[in-house]
Symmetry: C2
Amino acid sequence: MKTVTATPEGRPGLRERKKRRTHDALLRAALELFTTKGYEATTVDEIAEAVDVSQRTFFRYFAGKEEAALAVQDIAQDYFAEAVRDRPPHEAPLEAMRNAVLEGWDDITEAVEQVVPVDLYLRSYRMVESTPALLAAHLRRSDETAEAIARIIAEREGVDVDADPRPRVTVALFSGVIRVTERLWALGEDLTMDAMRDLMAAHLDAVRPSLAEKWRTG
Amino acid sequence: MKTVTATPEGRPGLRERKKRRTHDALLRAALELFTTKGYEATTVDEIAEAVDVSQRTFFRYFAGKEEAALAVQDIAQDYFAEAVRDRPPHEAPLEAMRNAVLEGWDDITEAVEQVVPVDLYLRSYRMVESTPALLAAHLRRSDETAEAIARIIAEREGVDVDADPRPRVTVALFSGVIRVTERLWALGEDLTMDAMRDLMAAHLDAVRPSLAEKWRTG
DNA sequence: TGTCAACTGTCAGCGGCTGTCATTAGCCTC
DNA sequence: GAGGCTAATGACAGCCGCTGACAGTTGACA
């Protein structure tokens, strides 16, 4: 017989809910502190204290400061990779990536919002750009995502990733456009989701004519 | 009157020479240890001890482990940026970058050789690829170099880097090709300078037809 | 040769991160 | 609904990267 704490429907149960609460609280506290007093200037002890847990517990939820700072970006990136995989097979590589970003924009925003307020996310996004250690970590994660997407594209097009450089190069071009957009957005004044989306769309459109041909073998 | 230790011609003087010796010795010892027992597994104390200096002295020559591990790559990247600046102005952006790499290859190799043996450099290059923390730092430095080159290209072409995304996007494409080459080279079996050069040339040639047009305004 | 500045070693200390072990608290069964 | 199981936490000790401060040493130059 079920206990009172767990509801009949697949409701997570108290333990799980508590874990998630702690996780989200730590995340929010971390980003809040990072964005106000700076990443390097805030210690893990401060974050832990803000949530009233031990420092050790922080490290049980996050591998380190870095992971906490970039956790939300990870959500967005993973979502994007999945979105590319779900694109209809007739779309050319750059087209598929472009559509995955632009059409999935609202879903990504929503997915983020379920963990932290969008405003906090955007502030943290900007902070990454101006914190060398974080920018490095961010670029490495982006590189990983790029590799994953290159494999997806290669599969879609039926080519071998290691033998044919085109999937990786195409994704690199796309990543480059995203990177340029990130940089300009962070430097700009309109720090909103819409502004980022518009910049993204504009840059992608600017590149489209140059390299849009399909290269499927069939 | 000059002392005996400093020769009339601009010879550096004992102090400078000693400094350079210590610097190079630390660098070589660090790379040697990193490549044999792994980056994270070697402590700064071990490096310092291998050269018979205090740990504090190591940090006076290098900002941290990371900088020691990537010092040689930095030499190569700085050299490359200069080479692009020195390209004749009639060359199109991608052409200029391509030629800077391929024609400057031997000079870069030589510049590296003056500090550490090429073999050690190549082994360390491969290590970067398999060490997350180092790969992150490497990508950030590459991103910085890319930004610098984008500005050089923009100046060559007479456009505004922040208003026109094409310089940064073009450089991003080029950087992407280099990144793909790095990855494949590190995964391959022929770990030599020549092998890397050939791979680089092959990949650059494969991209050339796609996006080689000039877009100078004049 | 003596003065000055640069280079170095030593020591103390902070912060990120990990292993270990005892304690607490959700969960499940009888 | 009491007791046993296990996951989650806290407390403590310790390593390592890195920094500031101060004193000692050594090359440079008059």
